[in-house]
């Protein structure tokens, strides 16, 4: 579910921004979640004592991450309403990402080592230790995001032509873009909140899928990306669990280790990333 959701949000981003390098990270959604968690973990030290410990339960982490990504998502959406240029939105998303990263950096500087370590652990990403109640919330978000993605299949295909052509075919660009962004934010925000900022899946899976299915039609790509994302995530997680031992490696490191070579290999072979 985590892999599938991240992959689909990556696919939506790549088509919307007409940029093969786009992914859920680009919009700053994941960084927003990081900010929320950083504020919680490191801010808690300021409040101090037993109250601080109480705050650090697992649920509060999820809520903080969710709030953080929601905040960034709302900011991005607000900008989208005012700015019509898609490229500008992409850059603004990147800027939001840098701002949140900077704030996290400042917080880290002033935090004691203990809290810092806790934050770092979260940012490694983890698929395990999620409660069943948590899974239900995640599932609801996932299916909501998925439903929205399915509704946007037709506009997505039109956007393959470029915004001006899409408009000439009677597509309401503003509305479609809003739908696509909301779908992405729900998927990426919820998943980051529960599993930490997992890198590369959102970027790599759509490209890998395009190698197997030689089509640009989102009616085929969405289910295909969904499956591929889930499979790749499972493979990464199995590696992370380190078979026959008690070690559990950070999933984020594994996805990067698996994802980066795949993207490089695709680039070297095709010399060009298409979307």
């Amino acid at each position: 579910m985590v892999g599938a959701g991240l992959s689909i949000s990556g696919l939506l981003m790549q088509t919307l921004f007409r940029n093969p390098l786009a992914g859920p990270f680009v919009l700053g959604v994941s960084s927003g979640a990081s900010l929320g968690v950083a504020l919680l973990i490191m801010g808690a030290s300021g409040i101090g004592g037993a109250f601080g410990l109480l705050l650090l339960s697992k649920w509060s982490l999820v809520i903080a991450a969710g709030l953080g990504s929601l905040l960034v998502m709302l900011a991005v959406l607000a900008v989208t309403v005012r700015v019509k240029d898609t490229m500008a939105i992409l850059i603004i998303g990147l800027m939001f990402g840098s701002v949140t990263a900077a704030v996290v950096g400042v917080l880290a500087y002033f935090s004691p080592a203990e809290q810092l370590q806790q934050y770092i652990f979260w940012s490694f990403g983890s698929l395990g230790n999620n409660s069943w109640e948590g899974m239900v919330v995640l599932a609801v978000c996932f299916f909501l995001g998925l439903l929205l993605s399915i509704v946007t299949i037709k506009p997505l295909n039109a956007l393959l032509l470029g915004e001006n052509y899409a408009k000439s075919q009677g597509l309401n660009i503003g509305k479609s873009r809003l739908f696509i962004l909301i779908a992405t934010c729900i998927l990426a925000g919820a998943i980051t909140a529960f599993a930490g900022p997992i890198a590369f899946i959102g970027l790599a899976v759509p490209h890998i899928t395009r190698q197997f299915f030689t089509t640009a039609n989102h009616k085929i790509l969405i289910p295909a990306v969904l499956l591929c994302g889930a499979i790749l995530m499972l493979i990464c997680d199995s590696i992370a669990q380190v078979p026959f031992t008690d070690y559990t490696l950070p999933i984020n490191a594994i996805t990067s280790l698996v994802g980066a070579p795949v993207v490089i290999w695709l680039l070297v072979r095709k010399r060009k990333l298409l979307f």
């Binding site: 088509t15 007409r18 399915i150 509704v151 299949i153 037709k154 295909n157 039109a158 956007l159 393959l160 032509l161 470029g162 915004e163 001006n164 052509y165 408009k167 000439s168 075919q169 009677g170 597509l171 309401n172 395009r210 030689t214 089509t215 640009a216 039609n217 009616k219 298409l274 979307f275």
Partner: protein
């Protein structure tokens, strides 16, 4: 000819340009023309004269400063983007954002105004797509990816997409740029064939080819915009006003331009 039902695309005292807080920037004004059904219409003028601005205004991408655009008897404002998509299709200078689709998929996208929320193609959609591919001689390339096509083939594929949209009016912005003389001629010939039961308006720099093929022409010069059939326009001497006379002169006898030596 006076019957307004013969005209598909008309303008009345149309003035085009850009809105500014400090006074509007007028690109061209007093545009009056009536394009008849089944006409191939060429739009010529030098660079920066406002050809693209005019086409954008006709496609409802930007609003006119004043005056009216009338399509099939209704003003352009009365059309929603959805209903306009069933009346008017475009071929722009920009290439598709994604070149990773096949020609068949590209042309199928032209059917979007008619398909359901999922974009499922019905049998009649498929017939339209095949017909569009046949008309543009692109049927053999149906499963080819767009990045494998030559410029001329891509242009034909884009025209096929507009055809599949099945609209009485097609507007093309410089369909012959980047093509050699053979492919320019073949694209224009194709447009001529297609214009039998459609109105086709295209902007071009191929003035001599346009004079030979077009039924009507719109000539934009810095002073005035002319509209009429090519022979009349030559007799009126419109073409010589297109460019500064000290460098390029129009020869009415041969219908072509000459460099002043």
């Amino acid at each position: 000819m006076s019957n307004p039902e013969n005209y598909t695309l008309q303008t009345q005292d149309l003035s085009i340009g850009y809105f500014h807080k400090t006074g509007n920037h007028v690109v061209a004004k007093d545009l009056n023309f009536s394009l008849s059904k089944g006409a191939l219409v060429g739009l010529v003028g030098s660079n920066g004269i406002g050809k693209s601005t005019l086409l954008r205004t006709l496609c409802k991408v930007q609003d006119p400063l004043s005056g009216k655009v009338i399509i099939n008897g209704n003003t352009l404002d009365s059309y929603s983007f959805e209903s306009l998509a069933e009346t008017l299709s475009v071929v722009l200078t920009e290439i598709p954002a994604s070149k990773n689709m096949t020609v068949g998929e590209l042309v199928a996208l032209g059917r979007q105004p008619y398909t359901n929320w999922l974009g499922t193609l019905t049998e009649s959609d498929k017939t339209h797509i095949i017909q569009a591919l046949e008309a543009t001689e692109m049927l053999p390339f149906k499963d080819r990816k767009c990045y494998e096509l030559s410029d001329g083939q891509l242009q034909r594929a884009l025209i096929a997409r507009a055809l599949a949209q099945d609209t009485p009016i097609i507007i093309l912005d410089e369909p012959t740029t980047h093509l050699d003389i053979y492919h320019r001629a073949s694209i224009l010939k194709l447009l001529k064939t297609l214009s039998k039961n459609k109105t086709i308006l295209f902007s071009t720099h191929e003035i001599d080819l346009a004079i030979q093929l077009c039924d009507q022409m719109i000539v934009m010069t810095p002073e005035k915009t002319f509209f009429g059939d090519p022979c009349e326009l030559i007799d009126e001497g419109c073409f010589s006003g297109l460019f500064p006379k000290n460098l390029i002169d129009f020869d009415g006898e041969t219908g072509s331009f000459r460099i002043v030596k």
